[in-house]
Structures are given as structure tokens and as C-alpha cells.
């Protein structure tokens, strides 16, 4: 392969690898805002009647690196109940089939929630053999905590 062909090969690769007309900074900011909004809903709605038995820490910052977006910081949220903690940890804005993904880790296991159009959030019940999602609401939030906590 001559130098010209190699140059052309790399030019095609580069053109294909760089999506055009995407405002990556806006995409990042929308993701960070959506995560903050989700934390607000959890704190002020789902956990509203239980704030005397759960400690909420939204002060942890997580560093994330994503293609095109680059490096950024995003808050995690830790819920502590007794001697057990559940961590809500944003994974990425760019994931297959969704507009962002949050991992939820407890002592028993891990759950995944995804951001969908309109800033709705859904819990992944299963990927195979068939994709099953349920909308995140007060009831499914409780189911999720039961599945990840001791």
C-alpha cells in the first residue's frame, strides 16, 4: 500500500469516526443535569417519607472519560441505611440504546438504570433473551433497592 493509499485509508477512517453536528459539551451538560434531576426526584419524592432513616450524600464527584466528550466530573449519590450503603454511580452519557446509564451498587448486587428520551429513567430487568425495561418510579425504585441491598 503506497503512502497516498495509506493517507486516504486514514482519512476515511477519521471521517467515519467523527460524527458531525454534535454539540458534545451540550450533550455532557444535559447528562449531568439529568443525573442531578434524578437525584432530586429520589431525594424529594421516592425517599420523602423516610429521610429520618436514610442518609443521603451527593457530595462525591466521579471522573468520567468518554469518546468525543472527553473528561468531566459528575456527582455520585450514596444512600446509607444503618450499616449498609447503596451507591448511584453514573457510568456514561453515550451507551447503546439509551441517553445515559447509571449503575446502582449495593452489598447484594448491582442494578442498572438508563436515561431515556424526555429524561425518563428506566430500570433494566433483563437484556436477554429479550430486553425488559420498567419505568423507574417509587414502586420499582423500592424493588431495585430490595434486589441490591442485603
Amino acid at each position: 500500500m503506497g503512502a497516498n493509499q495509506l493517507q486516504e485509508f486514514f482519512r476515511e477512517k477519521k471521517a467515519r469516526a467523527t460524527p458531525e453536528d454534535v454539540d458534545w459539551a451540550a450533550k455532557r451538560d444535559a447528562w449531568i443535569n439529568a443525573v442531578g434531576n434524578l437525584y432530586d426526584v429520589i431525594e424529594k419524592s421516592y425517599l420523602a417519607g423516610t429521610l429520618d432513616s436514610v442518609t443521603i450524600d451527593r457530595g462525591r464527584m466521579k471522573g468520567v472519560t468518554e469518546p468525543f466528550i472527553g473528561d468531566y466530573s459528575i456527582p455520585e449519590m450514596a444512600l446509607t441505611v444503618g450499616n449498609e450503603m447503596v451507591l448511584f454511580s453514573p457510568k456514561a452519557a453515550q451507551v447503546v440504546g439509551a441517553a445515559g446509564r447509571m449503575d446502582v451498587r449495593g452489598d447484594r448486587g448491582e442494578a442498572t438504570i438508563v436515561r431515556q428520551p424526555g429524561d425518563r429513567w428506566a430500570l433494566i430487568i433483563s437484556r436477554t433473551p429479550k430486553l425488559q425495561l420498567v419505568e423507574l418510579n417509587e414502586e420499582t425504585f423500592l424493588d431495585m433497592l430490595r434486589s441490591v441491598m442485603r
Partner: protein, 196 residues
Amino acid sequence: MARGRLKNVLSEDWKDLKEVWEWYIFQDGLVGDEAARTLDVSFAGLTLNKAQYFGMTTDDLSTLFDEHRQELKRVPMLVLLAATEAALMVDYVVRVRERKKDEISKDFIAIYRLRKLEPKLSEEILDVWRTRVAHPAMKAAIDRYKGALKLRNWLAHGRYKEPEERPKFDPSGIRDYEPEDILEIGTALLTTAGIK
């Protein structure tokens, strides 16, 4: 079983090393194509309709495909070792059936009287080859194949325990074999023995 009945014992199903290798390259290519296509679509921010990738980042996808390709490698290694054994066994059956007069065939006929179609590969068949073809290349080929049989046993028994020994005649551990190594080991043994 009388030797005359050996006419019908060989199966049409066995594949030689070349056929196994072509199968593996085809499968590996399919996984590679799927990885390239999926990562291209994912990087471009387009929608993927495959549920098994849902919610994955590009790093997750890369890891997933790497794991699948690593796992895929185990299959041809097991099948190549088995195909090498099959080629040795076909040669054994043919020599016995045709009552060939060379020293190797005479030894095989003697083994057949005791073992019929279940001779011990390592202790009997390969020892005949080692003794009758007294050449360093044959000894080396047999030693390397016997070393690789530890990999076959580990794979065939489901990898449920740590492999106990490193293969004596290969420098690395059992996990370090690549399909290319096993193809080369099988080919070297069969070529040195003059088995097609």
C-alpha cells in the same frame, strides 16, 4: 472385531486440520465483523437494535468482544488436537485393515490384537511412531503434541481446576497456547509421520 470389519468403522464426519482451521477463521471473522460494525455504530451515536448490547458503553463493547474472541479460541484448539488424534487413528485403522507390511503397521497390528479400536494414543500409537521413526524431528513433534494434550484434557474436562503442570516441551503455560500453536503442533506431527 475381525480386521475385515474395519472396512466400515471410519466415519465420514471427521475433519482434517485444514478444515478445522478454515472453520475457526470464518467464525473469528464473523465476531470481528460484528465487533467492527457494532463499535462503528456505537461511536457514531446511532441506534443499535440488539438487546444484548443495551446500555453498554464503547469500552463495555470492546471488552465483551475481546472476551468472546478469547473464548472462541478455545474451541479450535480442542478440535485441532482432536483432529490430530483422529488423523493418527485413521492411519492406525487403515494400516491394520490393509495388513501393511512395514514395521509401523506390524506394531499396530500387534496392538490391534489386544486393543482393537481403543489403543492408547500416548502410550501405544505415539510410542510406535517414536520408536520406528527414530528421528529427532519425530521425537520433537511427539513431545510437543503430548505437551499440548494437557491443554486438551484441561479443555475437555471443562477447565474446572487449575492446570497442574506446564507443558514440558513448550515454554509457556497451558493458558498461553494460541490456536496457531496447536495448528503448527498438529501439522508438524502429521507431516513428520507422513500422514495426510
